[in-house]
Symmetry: C2
């Protein structure tokens, strides 16, 4: 049996304009997919304890999404549009942060069923320029992402 | 005096992922800026005779835009978000066509006042991948663009 420890995400940069992330989760693929794609569940982990408003959530080809995180430091809006949604397997969408409008990341997320009750999440982010990619790496993205994954671990452990 | 002939746009590909367009217009820069950025005026040239619905038009940093062109072949939606708007000088925005959702072009448009009543429009489009750029070049984009510029010429000649 696998201990329900928090797994750290691995972050690498295979090319000039991308970031590759892998993270293990202690839940089967269907459960992970729902946590990542149901509006109510997204609101429980994305904000790492901060209140979230899911303003728009249309997880299908051509649909839009927009989430706002509320914190003591103000509101942070994120949004984009879906290119592809293949349930439990793969999702491709754009990702923008209101603080840098029209700087767009193409995010490809795949879920790999490890067959032992765990799931590997792989996220490939492609930026328009190397400068935007490097800016993201220097923004403290990794700390925030790990906090979100830890909150996701807690949500997955509940159900 | 400059004859009010239709000028052809020049199209080049300075790099792997971009398209560079230049086009002369027979009107001063302030007039051209209004034709390119006022919703009512956009509706008069973008569709080259086809009816347009300007669903959203927020030409400021962080604002969104969405235009729908109606034709006998159906509706074509285009949308994006503004990164920068410097009136009469420069505009940077994203550009997406509904037919390829979440395939995003970064469009930088600058207007150069030629001082003789004419204005040079320069549009640099940066694609996420070379494949997307090549697909756009092969889509008949240039013909449609020239028709739009010709319609813009007619609008500018009116006022």
């Amino acid at each position: 049996m696998t201990a329900a420890v928090a797994n750290r995400a691995t972050v690498s940069t295979p090319g000039d304009r991308d970031i590759h992330i892998e993270r293990l989760l202690n839940a089967p693929r269907g459960r992970v997919w729902r946590a990542l794609n149901d509006a109510d569940q997204i609101a429980q982990w994305w904000g790492r304890g901060n209140k979230m408003t899911i303003e728009k959530h249309e997880p299908w080809r051509g649909g839009h999404w927009r989430y706002v995180e509320h914190s003591d430091h103000g509101d942070q809006g994120f949004e984009g549009r879906y290119r592809e949604v293949t349930p439990e397997e793969r999702m491709v969408r754009t990702f923008e942060w209101d603080g840098m409008p029209a700087h767009v990341i193409i995010e490809t997320m795949t879920l790999e069923d490890l067959g032992d009750g765990r799931t590997k999440v792989v996220i490939d982010s492609l930026f328009h320029t190397r400068e935007e990619r490097d800016g993201m790496l220097q923004s403290g993205m990794e700390g925030g992402m790990n906090e979100s994954f830890d909150a996701l671990d807690r949500l997955l452990a509940e159900a």
